[in-house]
């Protein structure tokens, strides 16, 4: 994009582009909880602005959000939703502060995304566990629609793995199966999508709480024709 910045200023044009998360994000339900997964590449055009970013953001103790699209837009939508949901918890006199209904969080997010659809480029996935309805996943893609699903994908990388996911999805997976499935899918997306990369991040939410995990490239399942990562310490040794 040409912003009319003189070359003499020394700013590469691609650095003037919007910082966006050309991304792979996904989430799925399993027997007793949900798993959210994401790669960690944040790019500004060709430039990798951050290779270890965290695209899975906490909204409440029991509800998290995967963000794709403009980093600025999604971060701010997330902050607004957090605020609105926390205020709602106080107004309704919730006996579990910090917890919220997943459906409620998804609806508020959708309202913000839809009412500002002309100004936002934000694709989000809301997933979590609540006492009322158990594990739930909601997709909120670009136009601001809202869909409840067993699993959903987002970001540029999703184009490379929808077929894989449709084919290998199993309802009623165990936590281990679900985590392995998401790691597999994201590693495949990373192998083909130029704007997805870095580590794989997972957040697993269930009745007892939420847990974060991170997997370095060396731990990724190998895709077709991919060479294994050799770690520096291995080379030195």
């Amino acid at each position: 994009m040409d912003y009319g910045v003189p070359a003499a200023l020394g700013v590469a044009p691609e650095l003037m582009e919007e910082v966006s998360t050309g991304t792979t994000i996904m989430a799925c339900v399993y027997d007793g909880g949900v798993v959210l997964g994401a790669d960690s590449r944040t790019s500004t055009g060709n430039y990798v602005a951050n290779r270890a970013s965290d695209k899975i953001t906490q909204v409440m103790d029991n509800v998290w959000m995967c963000r794709s699209g403009s980093a600025a837009d999604t971060q701010n939508v997330c902050a607004f939703v957090k605020n609105a949901v926390e205020e709602h918890g106080i107004m309704s006199g919730s006996d579990e502060p910090g917890m919220a209904d997943v459906k409620l969080v998804a609806n508020v997010t959708m309202q913000i995304a839809y009412r500002n659809k002309d100004r936002l480029s934000a694709g989000m996935i809301i997933a979590g566990w609540d006492r009322r309805a158990g594990p739930q996943v909601f997709g909120i893609p670009l136009g601001g629609s809202l869909e409840k699903c067993d699993f959903t994908l987002g970001g540029s990388g999703s184009a490379y793995i929808t077929g894989f996911c449709d084919d290998t999805w199993k309802p009623g997976m165990s936590r281990e199966e679900a985590e392995a499935w998401i790691r597999r899918a994201i590693s495949i997306a990373i192998s083909r999508d130029a704007s997805s990369g870095g580590v794989i991040r997972l957040v697993t939410i269930h009745e007892k709480g939420a847990e974060k995990q991170m997997f370095e490239p060396a731990q990724h399942p190998l895709a077709y024709d991919e060479l294994p990562v050799i770690r520096r310490e291995e080379v030195v040794a």
Binding site: M91, S92, D101, K103, L104, A106, N107, V108, M110
Partner: protein
């Protein structure tokens, strides 16, 4: 304007020297003059009843209802000025619809009660408006807990949760009767009979005709606010009237 304490009743924006807002007190008087409304919290729901006074013989039976649903899971009974009560109900409907469109779910009972109380309270703060001459009983099934709740909203903006309550004409006698009931323990089916009985017995003979309106929100009504089915309501009212006539006959003996 002669003595101390006079001349403070023209607007809600001035307190009297002893801390009263007379316009609010007068609004409560308007409530006390209207027909009786009562609410009974039961083990399986809430029953609302209203004694609707009929000033004219030619009124179509069942018209100008004083009990109305505001959402599937909430309903109101008004006492006092009917148009004011209607305005409150209309606002409650907007609050329910507005909440649902933003949050995607039915409004929780506490939030509905709080928002309505705020609405009523706004009319006690400005010189240019008058407080509502109506109070309403609000019966809700909380969508999160599935519990039934009864609230009273007053012209002052006060909002309290009750096991049983009566407002309007003859409220004191009615409240005494409601207090005697096993509130929170009896079933709605029993409470309908009690509500009819209380409305019929506390009705002032001097008043013209009246109609007894009954509505409930309970497990039998599928958790939705509905009129009590005609057969059950008619029987409860007929039984109450029979009992009253028997009592009168005994008194005459």
């Amino acid at each position: 304007m002669s003595g101390i304490g006079t001349g403070y009743d023209l607007s809600t924006t001035t307190y009297s020297p002893d801390g009263k807002v007379f316009q609010v007190d007068y609004a409560c008087k308007a409530v006390d003059n209207g027909g009786l409304a009562l609410g009974i919290k039961c083990s399986d729901g809430v029953v609302l009843g209203v004694e609707k006074l009929l000033p004219f013989k030619m009124l179509v039976p069942g018209s100008n209802r004083r009990i109305a649903p505001v959402d599937r899971h909430a309903g109101m009974a008004g006492a006092g000025l009917a148009p004011d009560a209607r305005q409150i109900m209309s606002r409650a409907r907007s609050e329910c619809a507005n909440y649902k469109s933003f949050y995607g779910d039915k409004i929780p009972s506490k939030i509905l009660a709080d928002r309505m109380a705020n609405y009523l309270h706004m009319f006690t703060l400005y010189w240019s408006v008058r407080p509502f001459g109506a109070a309403v009983l609000l019966a809700v099934r909380d969508p999160a807990t599935g519990k039934y709740e009864l609230y009273l909203l007053e012209p002052s903006g006060e909002c309290q949760r009750y096991h049983g309550m009566a407002i309007g004409k003859g409220r004191q006698a009615a409240k005494n009767e409601v207090e005697k009931l096993k509130l929170g323990e009896m079933s709605c089916l029993e409470a309908v009979k009690e509500a009819a009985r209380i409305i019929v017995t506390t009705h002032d003979e001097k008043d013209k005709d009246y109609e007894c309106e009954l509505a409930w929100i309970c497990d039998d009504s599928g958790g939705e606010f509905k009129k009590v089915p005609k057969d059950i309501a008619d029987e409860a009212i007929a039984a109450a009237k029979r009992a009253l006539e028997d009592d009168d006959a005994m008194d005459a003996d």
